[in-house]
């Protein structure tokens, strides 16, 4: 099973905010057994989707060369369940950024209706936690392309984001050719 709980970015402003979409389908395994009789997409995975959206927003600031982990869910309020056929729109914004971590706030809407609100703390790991990246750069770039990050992403001045050279190099090294 893939561990990606957003499908694509809809907008992305470097170091500031992002929106991402997740389509809930009946064919997804997590809906089967979570609450028999009422198949719905678990709120815990919605938290994970928010963490992935926020974590990517945070990681992009240093061109995905820092290791970022979800450290704490400070608040999570849910107002309705997510059902097959729903499209979840994750909106995250970076509220505070320090050298060792960050606070990200966000909400999820379904057809304009508030589904949930969250606030989470991320830790930015230093070298005392080792130096290996969590995701090989080429793999991560493949995922970011699928999520269309570089198709919609802009910097704070509105200029289109470019793919970091180290990721392109890693891709060439692995595949022998760039992905686009």
């Amino acid at each position: 099973m893939r561990w990606f709980w957003i499908d694509r970015f809809e907008s992305f402003v470097s170091g500031k905010e992002a929106t991402a979409l997740k389509n809930v389908t009946f064919s997804e395994e997590p809906l089967d057994d979570y609450l028999p009789g009422l198949p719905h997409y678990p709120n815990s995975l919605i938290i994970e989707g928010m963490a992935q959206t926020g974590g990517l927003l945070l990681s992009e600031i240093q061109q995905f060369q820092q290791r970022v982990v979800l450290a704490k869910i400070s608040r999570a309020e849910f107002h309705r369940i997510a059902l097959p056929g729903d499209q979840l729109r994750f909106t995250v914004n970076l509220q505070s950024l320090q050298a060792d971590g960050a606070i990200v706030g966000g909400s999820v809407n379904v057809s304009g209706e508030l589904q949930s609100k969250m606030e989470m703390t991320f830790a930015i790991l230093d070298e005392s936690f080792g130096e290996q990246p969590f995701f090989p750069a080429a793999n991560l770039l493949r995922i970011l392309r699928i999520m269309r990050l570089y198709e919609v992403g802009v910097d704070s001045s509105g200029n289109r984001l470019t793919i970091p050279q180290h990721m392109l190099d890693a891709e060439v090294e692995e595949d022998g050719m760039p992905g686009e």
């Binding site: 450290a71 320090q98 060792d100 606070i103």
Partner: protein, 127 residues
Amino acid sequence: MVQIAEEIFQKVQVALVDALGVENEEVTPEATMVGDLGAESIDFLDIVFKLEKAFGISIPREELFPDDVLTNASYIKDGKVTETGIAELRKRLPWADLSKFAQNPRVQDFGNILTVADLCRYVETKL
């Protein structure tokens, strides 16, 4: 008796209850952040953020956590902060009550000296 402004204390209390999931009654002026309230290092990021929002202030990390002093070899001997080091800490953290720590200033204990009252007095210096 610890003297702190009630209005400041109340806002700090709200921030700590929110950030640490503790009860109002647990947040007393004398409570230590780590030992009594169970704050972990990542919680301080959250606490600082909430205090900045509540009071409209900016809190540089080094003002609350003088890591550079505690890792400076000239201030440390045999795992303890030297008298010069204590003097430096008092200069850097005039709002903190270091009297108890100074009696047996083991570096490893420093992380647990910060109390709610210290935090209130620190915030007061920023207003």
